[in-house]
Structures are given as C-alpha cells and as structure tokens.
Amino acid sequence: MNIKVLAFGISKEIFGRSSVNLELANDATVYNLKYVLEHQYPRLKQLASYMIAVNNEYALPGDTIHERDEIAIIPPVSGG
C-alpha cells in the first residue's frame, strides 16, 4: 500500500518537504514504518526521539497502519 507521511518541525527539514509518500506492506505496523523512514532518512536517528501519529493519536510500535490513515511524524515537541 502507498501511504503519505506528514512532517512538521525538524522532520520537515529532514524530508526536505512537508510530506513523503512511501510503499509499505499491507499489514505494516508503526515499527515497520519507522524502519523504512530511518533507512531513507538516516538523520531521523539523530533526533532525541520521535513518535508516529495515526489519525491524530500517538501510536504504539505494534499498531497496524491502514492505507487511508492520516500518518504524521512527530519530532520532540516544544510548544508553549
């Protein structure tokens, strides 16, 4: 399946744009997504941490991703 990953803050700079499209297996998990992202964008591994959000909620590594989900990469937050 093809998924789109939204990017914000430093992840937008690492991707060089505000979203990327990726090809993942149909039963892919958040863990699989992070593996693919880090392979294509090794600078992600230098971040203090980062989370994946699925449909506006923080996701766990074992959560399954579906094709129409809204996926976003959440680098360390710093609001307020």
């Binding site: 803050g9 971040l47 203090a48 506006n56 909620e57 923080y58 937050v77 710093s78 609001g79 307020g80």
Partner: protein, 139 residues
C-alpha cells in the same frame, strides 16, 4: 463543556481571554501567559517560529483540559496558542483556569502548561544572529 481551545496565526489577546474566563461562580482565576524571551542560555534570540499539527494539537489540548477537569474542581479552561513568527515579548500561549477556590485554579493551570509542553504537537524554532535551532529536537 466549559472549555475554549484555539490555535491562532494572529496575535493573542489577553483581554478577550480574561473576559471569557470571568464568571460569577468563580472565586479565583489563574492566568498563565507565555512570552518570547530575548535569550536562551545567554545567547540573544532574534525571534521564534511556531508550527503546529493543528488537528492533533487541538485534540491533545482537549485531552489535557479533560484531565484537568477530572483532577481538580475547576469551572472553565481556556487555552490559546499562537503559530507563525513571534518577536521578543510576543505571546505564544495563554492558559486561563477558573475555580471556586484558588488552589484548584493554580494547580490545574500549572498542570495544563506543563503537560502541553510535553505532549501537544507544536514546535518552536529559535532564530539567533548566527543560525537557527528547532528546540528539543536533538539530545
């Protein structure tokens, strides 16, 4: 619910926040105003840039307000957050909490700003004379 949570790209208005939070039932109102400081660790800051993942940021702020209502006997909660370019002295965030008695308002207000800084998907970049840094991005 007695909650207002908004993200603005234009300057925040303290008066409109306090106007909304005032009510005859409340005996105490706690207002936190975050402001852009002119230096970080002694290094002059020129300006800040804030970016939000807005739908999720609103959802996370709503969760924080709900938790505050569960933990303390508070009456109204307002959270206003700015995005975009902010100069020194401008206001990125206003949090206002009303309660019958001051202790709940103080405690809930502090909980809301502390949790917001940990969980809400909003990012700030500090712009210095010689470069720029996304705050907290790197260890």
């Amino acid at each position: 619910m007695n909650t207002v949570i908004k993200i603005f790209s234009a300057p925040l208005n303290i008066q409109s926040a306090t106007d909304w939070i005032m009510s005859p039932e409340s005996g105490g109102i706690d207002v936190f105003i975050g402001t852009v400081r002119n230096a970080t660790k002694g290094k002059p800051v020129i300006r800040l840039e804030f970016e939000a993942y807005e739908p999720m940021a609103i959802a996370e702020m709503e969760k924080i307000a709900k938790q505050a209502f569960e933990k303390w006997p508070v009456q109204k909660i307002l959270i206003h957050h700015r995005t975009g370019v902010l100069e020194v002295g401008e206001i990125p965030v206003i949090i206002a909490v009303s309660a019958a008695h001051r202790a709940a308002a103080f405690d809930a207000c502090r909980f809301i700003i502390d949790t917001l800084k940990q969980t809400v998907p909003i990012w700030k970049k500090e712009i210095f004379e010689d470069g720029e840094v996304w705050v907290a991005a790197h260890p």
